[in-house]
């Protein structure tokens, strides 16, 4: 399992190449923006019938990280479902799969803007979760510290010697870390966009996801 250690509010956190965040001392893993059930929501709203495999693909990758880390606690940082209805209509297979992943683990669903309501799924449902000195919430708040959040689907674009490479990325500075979207059907917001530049300190760094995660200064 490839990861990069960072320190936030004195805690050592490992950013994994998959886009998950691993807090070894607490045996706790964090993923953000799974957007499960996206195909169904798009279809329900009259959009195209996309290949209905995104929930399966996302869960496979999540399961791989759970197996590799042996995490005892899982925090889903919000937008875990593409909307509340998508959570409700998830297939029996996928519900059982999630239940299997939850067995023997503490599981927390943080509310996101896509899934604000209560969800008929095991685990705790919280608006946010303080685990001092860290706080887990969906959308970063200006002025917060020790904050772990998601929502923005950050990605970075890096000009290498031969080509530009664009990938989902963690953004972090001394106050916060923003997780990339973990879901399969998710786009991204580039780190040089105003909202992310404003949120992150000038010395912020980015961890590029991939087989082997890489650290670079956050492209602004």
């Amino acid at each position: 399992m490839n990861g990069i250690d960072i320190t936030l509010a004195g805690c050592t956190l490992t950013a994994l190449g998959s886009g998950a965040l691993w807090w070894r001392d607490q045996s706790l893993i964090v993923v953000s923006d799974l957007h499960l059930g996206k195909t169904e929501r798009v279809l329900r709203r009259g959009g195209p019938a996309m290949p209905p495999y995104e929930t399966r693909d996302t869960l496979i990758r999540l399961e791989n990280d759970l197996t590799a880390t042996g995490a005892g606690t899982v925090i889903c940082l919000g937008d875990s479902f593409d909307d509340v209805e998508a959570a409700r209509t998830l297939s029996e297979t996928d519900r059982l799969w999630i239940a299997r992943l939850q067995a023997g683990r503490r599981w927390v669903w943080i509310e996101g803007n896509h899934d604000p309501g209560p969800i008929d799924m095991g685990g705790a449902h919280l608006a946010e979760l303080p685990l001092p000195p860290l706080t887990f919430r969906h959308i970063a708040q200006a002025g917060a510290s020790g904050e772990v959040s998601g929502h923005y689907h950050p990605k970075v674009r890096i000009q290498t010697r031969l080509r530009k490479i664009s990938r989902p990325a963690f953004l972090f500075d001394s106050d916060r870390i923003i997780l990339p979207a973990f879901g399969t059907y998710t786009g991204g917001l580039r780190s040089d966009q105003c909202v992310l530049r404003d949120l992150m300190r000038p010395e912020a760094m980015a961890i590029v996801t991939g087989q082997i995660p890489r650290v670079v200064p956050m492209p602004r």
């Binding site: 250690d5 960072i6 495999y53 490479i165 890489r214 650290v215 670079v216």
Partner: protein
């Protein structure tokens, strides 16, 4: 034998008054006016339009008609408005009470609505607009009474998806109006019967009429004092000679094979244009307003020359063009002949054309193209089967018009020539795709797009989906382009467009050519490329998406035969000497055999394969051979392809080249190479858009191109992983193989060659291989881990620069 048709008195009076006589083929068309299907092959300027419309005018002169009588479809919007002008004059002069209107993407919503309620007698339109028109619930009423459909420049629609779309729409019309008569107007083509098969309802017969082709064109190669260079496509060496020709003629069209070449040539022409002759440029990446300005200036006769690309290929009437210059080898004899037709738009006057080879190999190709024209030999590939992605779109558009019966639609579709061999299973797969997405995992059936009712008819589950389907119809892919505009001139007119991918490579201060001027990149603002004028002499060149033509199979084979001659009296001495030297140092490539040369140079080993299969196929061959070489441990480092050969370089000498050419291995290599290839992803995106899986337009906002790129790649990866047999992946494979990769030409070449592979080991670079060393577009061979290594390098460098060698913040 039927009685010849008689012109009504007012029409023959009009001909007499103008002192004109109808051309024989125009009267022939009138005679055949009642036949279900007629194709007219006529050279440009042969009175084609009148021939197509004469039966309509006669009909309408003889008896009043309510509603739509004749539908005219052309591949170009500009052509539709051009025809409107050209028809109005005779109609007014004859005094006929006929309403003519056009309907294209440019027509306002108000007019479009009115046309549906109160259609004109003659409606001029494009395949896209026609397809949309057939998708309305009131289509039966709109087309009520329609008698004739005229498809202009049908040859330009025969080989692409727009043609598929058009002929499917015609099959719809034919069901609405069973007596509909079809007329096709075509430039000279190689296989008229293929076009006739497309035009007619299968298996109906189709008349083919030929207009007098007129006198043979006066066509030759431009000779210059300076010999052309060994490589490249700019033809800068010929600028003074071309300028002299422009001066000696009234109006000259200067054709180029690519937009980028047209831009460079235009720029160089201006630098040499001491007398300030009025010269314009016209190509598909320029802003529409700017193109229209050039077209208008041209029609007024204000311009002495226009540098252009295929955007001027189709039959717009440009008035007094008396010379056509083709810069670069024409690659394809048929296109050359059609281009020559642009000169001398007067019937029965010979067209005058000059070929300007851009490099020494093109001298050989030009000489052979000229001989092919003189021999009347046109080239062309058999017409492909209709595309299934367009069929899916057609099914959706049909559903938008109202409930339909699957078997009736299947029968209608197989009545289209290009779909006559479509199997019911293929059709059902397309229908299932439209209805449910066609996935192996039957997930959200309650939301399926199309439902089968109790009475067996199919209909849209949600009728509101119709608007969304129409909004996303069409087969032309806008590659993601950005407008280019002068900075501080935001209200001003855009200069044109560049591809998003090109814009992404620009850094502030970079210069590039657009519309013949050099501009400096200033930045990106609201999805518009901001530029300023710049007087730099050497610009970076805009990479336009214009198709790179490959030399046709027929022209390649003719050239290959030509090389077998003892001497080449038709070639200039510099080129003949070059070929002779090839024979002395190595050997000549031969038909039915494959010449492979190996030679060392600059500490690297080279292998040159003379497949004569055209640029695209040679490029693919390069990819496949380097992959084979990698598997065999031969450490290839890169390759470059031209129309006749592929040159590969690497660390090790290839001692037994025959081992590389195992067709089965190459095909396997192609399959696995394709799956992960950017080309497949691009093709997938095109097909996914045509079938409606990716929506370009949604009722709310317009998706930016970048987002579309992103999600379609993920969709492709997901399908490949979980549903590799899905219809859309099958379509993508078929399209990629036939369109861009040209693997069929490699296969045909390999089958013709068998084991007759000649290996020639030379002590140094050979004459025929030398130009390849100068060729642009060298492709480095990268191992799969290249991206990871690049990122690692960059990580180290950036961390070093930022002084943040430690990770903890």
């Amino acid at each position: 034998m039927r009685a010849p048709a008689v012109l009504p008195a007012e029409i023959s009076a009009w001909f007499k008054k103008r002192n004109w006589h109808p051309h024989p083929h125009q009267l022939d068309m009138l005679d055949r006016g009642d036949d279900p299907c007629t194709l007219l092959i006529a050279p440009t300027g042969g009175g084609k339009t009148m021939a197509g419309f004469l039966p309509t005018l006669v009909d309408l002169a003889e008896a009043p008609h309510t509603g739509l009588h004749t539908l005219y479809v052309s591949p170009l919007k500009a052509l539709a408005s051009d025809i409107k002008r050209n028809l109005r004059n005779p109609i007014e002069e004859i005094g006929l009470n006929i309403r003519i209107e056009d309907r294209t993407g440019d027509t306002s919503q108000t007019v479009k609505k009115r046309q549906r309620v109160d259609p004109p007698h003659i409606l001029l339109t494009t395949p896209e607009s026609l397809a949309l028109l057939t998708s309305y619930e009131d289509a039966p009423r709109i087309f009520q009474g329609l008698k004739r459909v005229v498809v202009d420049e049908i040859h330009a629609l025969a080989e692409n998806k727009r043609g598929d779309q058009l002929f499917l729409a015609l099959s719809r019309l034919q069901s609405l109006c069973p007596d509909l008569r079809r007329v096709g107007l075509s430039a000279t083509v190689d296989h008229p019967e293929d076009i006739a098969r497309l035009l007619a309802r299968n298996p109906d017969p189709c008349n083919i009429l030929y207009a007098d082709p007129g006198p043979a064109p006066d066509i030759s190669m431009l000779t210059t004092d300076a010999p052309p260079p060994w490589s490249g496509g700019g033809a800068a060496y010929a600028i003074p000679a071309v300028l002299a020709q422009v001066k000696a003629h009234k109006t000259t069209l200067i054709f180029h094979n690519t937009r980028a070449q047209a831009e460079i040539f235009f720029h160089n022409l201006w630098l040499a244009n001491d007398e300030g002759l009025p010269i314009g440029i016209h190509h598909g990446s320029l802003d529409r307003a700017q193109r229209e300005k050039v077209e208008a200036a041209m029609a007024r006769g204000d311009l002495r020359a226009i540098v252009c690309t295929s955007s001027l290929d189709l039959g717009i009437d440009w008035g007094d063009v008396d010379l056509v210059i083709q810069v670069g080898a024409p690659k394809n004899v048929k296109r050359l002949v059609q281009r020559i037709g642009r000169a001398n738009h007067r019937y029965n006057a010979p067209s005058k054309a000059l070929l300007v080879p851009a490099n020494r190999w093109e001298v050989v190709e030009c000489v052979n193209a000229l001989e092919a024209v003189r021999a009347g030999e046109l080239d062309g590939d058999p017409l492909p089967q209709g595309s299934l992605d367009v069929l899916c779109q057609h099914i959706l558009l049909t559903a938008a018009a109202g409930p339909f019966e699957a078997t009736a639609l299947f029968d209608e579709v197989t009545g289209v020539g290009a779909y006559s061999r479509l199997s019911r299973a293929e059709f059902d797969a397309c229908l299932d795709f439209c209805a449910t997405g066609g996935y192996a995992l039957k997930a959200y059936d309650r939301w399926q797009k199309l439902q089968q009712r109790a009475d067996g008819l199919w209909q849209l589950r949600d009728p509101r989906a119709a608007a969304r389907i129409r909004m996303n119809a069409g087969t032309i892919q806008d590659s993601d382009t950005l407008k280019v505009q002068l900075k501080r001139n935001r209200s001003g007119k855009p200069l044109g467009e560049v591809e998003e991918a090109f814009a992404a490579t620009l850094a502030k201060g970079d210069t590039f050519l657009i519309g013949g001027q050099i501009v400096r990149y200033e930045g990106l603002r609201d999805m518009t490329v901001q530029v300023s004028r710049n007087a730099a002499r050497k610009p970076r060149v805009a990479v336009f998406s214009g198709t790179k033509f490959a030399t046709s199979t027929q022209l390649s084979q003719r050239t290959l035969r030509f090389l077998q001659a003892e001497t080449w009296p038709s070639l200039p001495s510099h080129t003949a000497d070059w070929l002779r030297l090839q024979r002395d140092i190595s050997r000549m490539p031969e038909p039915g055999r494959l010449l492979v040369e190996t030679f060392p140079r600059d500490g690297r080993e080279n292998i040159c394969v003379y497949g004569f299969a055209g640029r695209n196929a040679q490029q693919t061959l390069g990819l496949l051979l380097t992959k084979r070489m990698e598997d065999l441990g031969l450490a290839p480092m890169g390759f470059v392809a031209s129309d006749y050969a592929t040159l590969i370089w690497g660390l090790d000498e290839v001692v037994a080249p025959k081992d590389l050419f195992d067709l089965t291995m190459l095909r396997d290599g192609l399959e696995s190479w394709l799956a992960g290839n950017a080309l497949m992803k691009r093709t997938f995106r095109a097909s996914a858009t045509i079938t409606g899986l990716i929506e370009r337009n949604t009722p709310g906002a317009r998706k930016s191109g970048r987002q579309a790129t992103f999600s379609s790649d993920i969709l492709y990866d997901t399908l490949l992983k979980y549903d590799p047999e899905h219809l859309l992946l099958k379509i993508t494979r078929t399209e990629a193989l036939r369109g861009l990769v040209d693997f069929s030409r490699i296969e045909a070449m390999m089958l013709a060659v068998g084991d007759r592979i000649d290996h020639s080991r030379a002590p140094h670079v050979t004459p025929l291989a030398a130009p390849l060393l100068l060729e642009v577009g060298k492709v480095p061979v990268q191992s799969g881990s290249a991206e990871e290594r690049l990122l690692a390098e960059e990580e180290a460098a950036l961390m070093q620069d930022s002084g943040l060698a430690r990770v903890n913040v």
